[in-house]
């Protein structure tokens, strides 16, 4: 079971954090800080696996973003790498050639995508098509709400 996933830039700015186990804010901050330092200090040719406390950390860099996941000790690291890759593919399909800026300005959409792909630290849906279909349907729902809702909410309905 995955414990958490972090996305951060090369400057150490956090772009996304998904925790599959609830922690106190302080704990989360400390872990984030530690991991960002650890991963950013790795040289390019080093292997993608680290050990931190009692987790295994699997990370991969895509352009300017680091995708960092923490898994339990008996989880398969290569599978986690594939998981990260699948997530990037999904984002890519959705945003169309995704880049870091897309994730910065549409961070909640990145979360929604993650919520359709992973849940409780496990892979929820192995078919890319189904994930994207679910996201599309929910986007449609949001759009249908908006025109009518916009006027109602602002007291002009």
């Amino acid at each position: 079971m995955m414990q958490f996933m972090l996305l951060f830039s090369r400057q150490g700015k956090l772009r996304l954090q998904k925790w599959f186990v609830a922690h106190q804010e302080k704990t989360k901050k400390k872990i984030t800080r530690d991991l960002i330092t650890l991963v950013l200090s790795r040289k390019p040719k080093m292997c993608s696996f680290l050990e931190y406390k009692d987790y295994k950390i699997v990370y991969k860099r895509y352009a300017s973003l680091y995708f960092c996941c923490a898994i339990e000790n008996d989880d398969n690291e290569l599978l986690t790498l594939e998981l990260i890759h699948r997530y990037v593919e999904l984002l890519d399909k959705y945003f169309g050639s995704v880049c870091e800026l897309d994730i910065i300005f549409n961070f909640e959409k990145a979360y929604f995508m993650l919520d359709e792909f992973l849940m409780v630290g496990e892979v929820q849906e192995t078919s890319k098509k189904n994930v994207l279909k679910a996201i599309a349907a929910q986007d449609l729902m949001q759009e249908e709400e908006t025109p009518q809702g916009f006027f109602e909410d602002h007291g002009l309905g």
Partner: protein, 811 residues
Amino acid sequence: MALKKVKGTLERVLDKNLQDLVRGIRNHKENESKYIAECIDEIKQELKQDNLAIKANAVNKLTYLQMLGYDISWAAFNIIEVMSSTKFTFKRIGYLAASQSFHEETDVLMLTTNMIRKDMSSQNMYDSGVALNGLSCFITPDLARDLANDIMTLMTSSRPYLRKKAVLIMYKVFLQFPEALRPAFPRLKEKLEDPDPGVQSAAVNVICELARKNPKNYLSLAPLFFKLMTTSTNNWVLIKIIKLFSALTPLEPRLGKKLIEPLTNLIHSTSAMSLLYECINTVIAVLVSISSGIPNHTASIQLCVQKLRILIEDSDQNLKYLGLLAMSRILATHPKSVQGHKDLILQCLDDRDESIRLRALDLLYGMVSKKNLMEIVKKLMVHMDKAEGSHYRDELLSKTIEICSQSNYQYVTNFEWYVSILVELTRMEGTKHGKLIANQMLDVAIRVQAIRHFAVSQMAILLENSHLLANNSQRNGICEVLHAAAWICGEFSEHLSNPKATLEAMLKPKITSLPGHIQSIFVQNILKLYGKILKAAEAKEDDSLKKEVHTLLQEKLPVFIQSGDLEVQERACSILQIVKYIMKLEEKGAAVADEVENLYAGELNPVAPKAQKKVPVPEGLDLDKWINEAPDDSSDEEVPGNTFFLTTEDEHRSSYQHGDESRPTYEPTEEELEKRKAIRKTEVEHNPHYLKDDGKGHKPRHKDAFDAKDIPVAEIDLSVPLHVPGLSSSDKYMVLQQKTEKAHKGKKEKGKKKKKKGKGKTQAEESDEDEVAAVHTVSTIVDAPEGMAGSDHEDDKKSGDVYKALDINLD
């Protein structure tokens, strides 16, 4: 009225939405925190509005700010308001904010139960989906208990999308509320055969997670999973099932035998590295569980090792890492198959990647043998010299010592070599393992009698050069080695070639800069040496030597009497008095050397760990009973006073005692505490001099006014720590070092040559072993109370109590 509305609308138009916020933050890079503080104020205003759209926008912005590190727990209630909206857009935003910021201690969580229940039973599939996703992040035991039934109902929903989510969230429910497992399990089992593949893989995932923690309860599902494994083509699912099997096989060896074939087929056929890796791991687990040596299995092991070798040789660092990791698992049970690949592992030790080096180190631990130990340690020492980070160097150091000392020094053939290695290690600066090296020296000197002479001579040299080591006086630093050196020289002083010189070395003024516990060892051993010298002088009837020694001691010991450490002071005082007394006796002509020697007669053996615990309590002794009358409850001043003499660490104990000694401590009962509190309160009330706090928090009168408390108290370090890069040792020491190493090399080379010629008695390492094995025996005598059985294996506190609660029989 209308005007207000229009005004409100205009203000709303100026509200920042998320994009504006992000852009704004990016544009205000230099005064970011000020800008964000402004934004938070705006958000607080927005949250006061009634309009849900505005609130949702504000919550969305808050979620972003939370990611930047700002605490948004104050907005918990507002988040719940947004979650309760009927509009999907707002609901989604609310649940996202909740999943990011809610945790067990969030008070308002109890308000969410009914809302989540309503959302889960909503007509709109995506409403339920959003609720389930959010819940999975912040579920608590209470929520789990209340909502378990609703989630179980959802597992049978007509929509696979919801069934899938419900199945997955059940895992979280089980973790928080284990009692839900038994009723839910039959339904979960049904889902394994659900027509929708998504639901099926969700069920596989959940059961695999559960089964890995408590495998024996899920053994009955093995046939079902076997069928799934052979029919599924989805790699994600396959990997999960195979991992499950590796947890089950230790319990059921027949299952393992059945698995070997399909797994080997998969290994041969698959192109997915992750699946290959998983199969190899499971095959290893299976082979570990099958102890009987059926010929097929050696072939399977060979196959695994072969595949792993390919992984390790791959240029991809990840595969290398995993190959080494899996190899170390095989090493545990089939060391012979792995030892052939020693060359590859040693190569990995040179890798640029630290993680790979550490993995290779781990492997080496299991691959040493008597023959290759010296070579491996030599290589490790070379690495230590080149090591960039002190953490890595420390790892190397501790690993080296672990490798050498495992199983009672099983692989060390020549202890002279080992002692010189230890001495070389003392040159390692900045290490945290000074204590470890010191312990090793002590251990070797005590338990290997034959080596004592050599060890003592080395230690004497160390003492003479103590001024170099004394520079580093941090806790656990290399100066701990002096502790060992002094003790060894004192205890085995019969091997010293020049006791007087060593005595002088121990009395050097630089010693006073060492930590207290080391100084106290020095002082103690000074007396031992003195006794020895006195004996020798008496035998030779050398009065002048006696006089010299006496004057020396009288001059130098007083320095220790002025030491700040209590133990040192005490010992130095007693010893000085003894010396003075002996001098008086000597002047009167009495020969007291024998008595002095008797002070330290007898052989000290290491004490078994936990020996103290095993000392039987004599009959009639109640350890928990009070010795004296209970103390007066009137004042609390005694309590802090008691701690004055308690030391927090076992510095003054011999380093052999590894076990904890728990003393019965006095703990005041509840009533006594209450009584004390009441008495203290009355005292405070009646004391006119006691200043009470107003509670208002006075502002400081001047900005520069400072409190006495604020002045940082810094410890004055009397010794000036100089970093001497590359400790230079005395020539004598180095030459001796090189001689011993050359002698070894010479022996080895001679051995090799002779081996080639195939002549009779060779000095090859094999005969070294035999020869050495006879001479350098490691004593295993330990002190222990009579009739003590081998040390118990006390169970460490079991981590994963959560998983223990899930250990229920499901049949």
